[in-house]
């Protein structure tokens, strides 16, 4: 409960309960739960059989997960042997998106800095807690969506399979990239049919890779420096002379967003923000030690020094056609308890102040809220009462003893 950076968890009647309006899908709670009782949604690998033609869209983070002798190209090939019909070139999509970011920043005339939209946790955080920054979020598709667009384009050009449809499955480093079942209509990633975690594919991929005789070693690297997106600083790689910053970690990101709101960073052009400290290679669904994975990504992005240049004229044409533009701009999230008038909000604040004045402020959490502030907030919303605080009610202690099955003593932590 206390690990939640947005105070979204409450314990009621001995069970954890989530305030959906506060949750940003960061996955911190899942990482620390000692009973592994928090299970994020992601399609099991076996569920994928229902799709006809499967295209794997791997996160760049996937390529840092395996022992160093396995190249990204071999991992791509392995994907096509464990059930996918094709694997998209995420490195190319990453490079394109980096180019599009630069283009968007150069054209944009509003307040700075612009904020990256590629970590869904960060976007949700801004929607819920920093709605005044919503127009600074770059409405450009992430590499996984652009990879799908590239595939679609290739199919429409190819005369052999003009209308061949496919289902794109994202191979995700974190639960936040999985479309929420309840939001299928709203989700920005509708062109992605589903998501499987890196963790679920790790064993089958490794089994296939290790069976390969050395003669099968991939001759030429085809995936370029776009793989840098797996680590912090990847998305801004095209920015060169523009001043920009990169921040990773949710509390670090929140501190930067506060500063952006105050106008402190207005001379910065771009802020790349990631919820996980260390970027996507440190996502909840990754397997490899973070530092090793980071090192491998650094080696991989340096493999090809002379990359074929991006076809800028072509990209600019795509850009103007809306190829990179998100179908839906992020919008401010609904506040907890729905919209309220200024008068209602002020009345609630008065109630909260009253409750706060009465609470002990030692943040013991026994009431089931992560601190006294949150309990006061819950009281002002009518979702809790002052007697939930053990300092006010002996009955609360009795209730806890009953729930946790204790005959005496204090409840466990």
């Amino acid at each position: 409960m206390q690990v939640c950076p947005t105070q979204a968890i409450r314990i009621r009647q001995g069970k954890a309960f989530l305030l959906a309006e506060h949750c940003v899908d960061c996955g911190r709670c899942e990482k620390v739960c000692p009973h592994h009782a928090i299970v994020p949604h992601s399609a099991a690998f076996a569920d994928l059989e229902k799709f006809k033609y499967l295209v794997a869209v791997p996160s760049a983070a996937l390529f840092g997960q395996f022992p160093r002798q396995y190249s990204p190209e071999e991992i791509q090939q392995a994907l096509t042997r464990i059930g996918f019909h094709e694997a998209a070139d995420i490195a190319q999509a990453c490079e394109w998106v980096s180019w599009a970011i630069r283009e968007y920043i150069q054209d944009f005339s509003g307040p700075r800095p612009l904020i990256s939209s590629f970590c869904p946790v960060v976007v949700r955080l801004i929607q819920l807690q920093y709605p005044s920054l919503i127009d600074q979020v770059i409405p450009i598709k992430g590499p996984e969506l652009v990879a799908v667009e590239i595939l679609k384009q290739a199919r429409s050009i190819s005369s052999r399979r003009p209308s061949a449809s496919f289902d794109a499955i994202y191979i995700t480093p974190c639960p936040a990239m999985v479309p929420r079942p309840a939001e299928t209509g709203e989700s920005a990633s509708r062109s992605i049919a589903g998501a499987v975690s890196i963790r679920d594919l790790y064993n089958p991929l490794l089994a296939f890779l290790s069976q390969q005789p050395d003669a099968y070693r991939w001759p030429m690297p085809t995936m370029g420096k776009g793989l840098r997106w797996a680590r912090p600083g990847g998305s801004g790689m095209a920015l060169r002379e523009h001043p920009w910053i990169c921040v990773s970690g949710l509390s670090e990101t929140m501190a930067v967003l506060e500063d952006i709101e105050s106008g402190k960073l207005r001379d910065t052009e771009y802020a790349e923000c990631w919820s996980c400290r260390g970027g996507c290679i440190n996502g909840t669904f990754t397997v490899e030690n973070y530092y090793l994975a980071y090192h491998k990504i650094v080696l991989l992005e340096q493999r090809i020094l002379n990359l074929p240049h991006l076809n800028v004229d072509q990209l600019r044409k795509y850009f103007q056609q809306g190829f990179f533009t998100l179908d839906q701009r992020p919008r401010p999230g609904l506040p907890r308890g729905g919209e309220s008038t200024l008068m209602e909000a002020l009345a609630r604040r008065r109630q909260k102040e009253q409750a706060l004045a009465a609470l002990p402020m030692i943040n013991c959490c026994i009431c089931g809220a992560p601190n006294c502030q949150c309990l006061a907030e819950d009281i002002s919303r009518g979702e809790a009462k002052l007697t939930d605080c053990v300092f006010y009610s002996h009955e609360k202690l009795e209730e806890l003893r009953r729930i946790y099955g204790l005959s005496n003593g204090i409840p466990p932590n």
Binding site: Q129, P131, S132, L133, I134, E258, D259, E261, S262, G263, K264, P332, P335, E339, S340, L342, M343, A345, L346, R349, R350
Partner: protein, 153 residues
Amino acid sequence: MENPPGRRDEPAAGPLLEQSYKIEGGNFIAAGNAATRLKDLLKEIKIPADVIRRAAICSFEAEMNVVMYAHRGTITLEVYPAEVVLRVDDEGQGIPDIVTAMQEGYSTATEAMREYGFGAGMGLPNMKKNSDRFEIHSVIGQGTHLRISISLK
């Protein structure tokens, strides 16, 4: 803080909410704290995002000016049904020539202040730009008073 009952129809009643924050002159480490707390309060009472954005910029600039040029000061938030008002009162050197000080790029910041990244001469013009009504009074050797109003439409 509350409207007394029975006086609802009378105009010019007190603010619905009033909250003051102290600012310490010369303390660049704590600079920005008052503006951040003020902003958090505005978020808590669900003021529209655009108003928060403008109020956050104004209060931060105002706080920086107090930190840079005054001995001490307060920033007071007043919320009315139709507007949000920031009042900034400081005890300090005052502004000799307000017309010049309101020009973009004009700054009397010292080298030391600029090393902290402040003093670009954008403070007052930026506050004016982000407010609907901006009043400034200054007495040399005593201090400066700002009243920044942002309309809630």
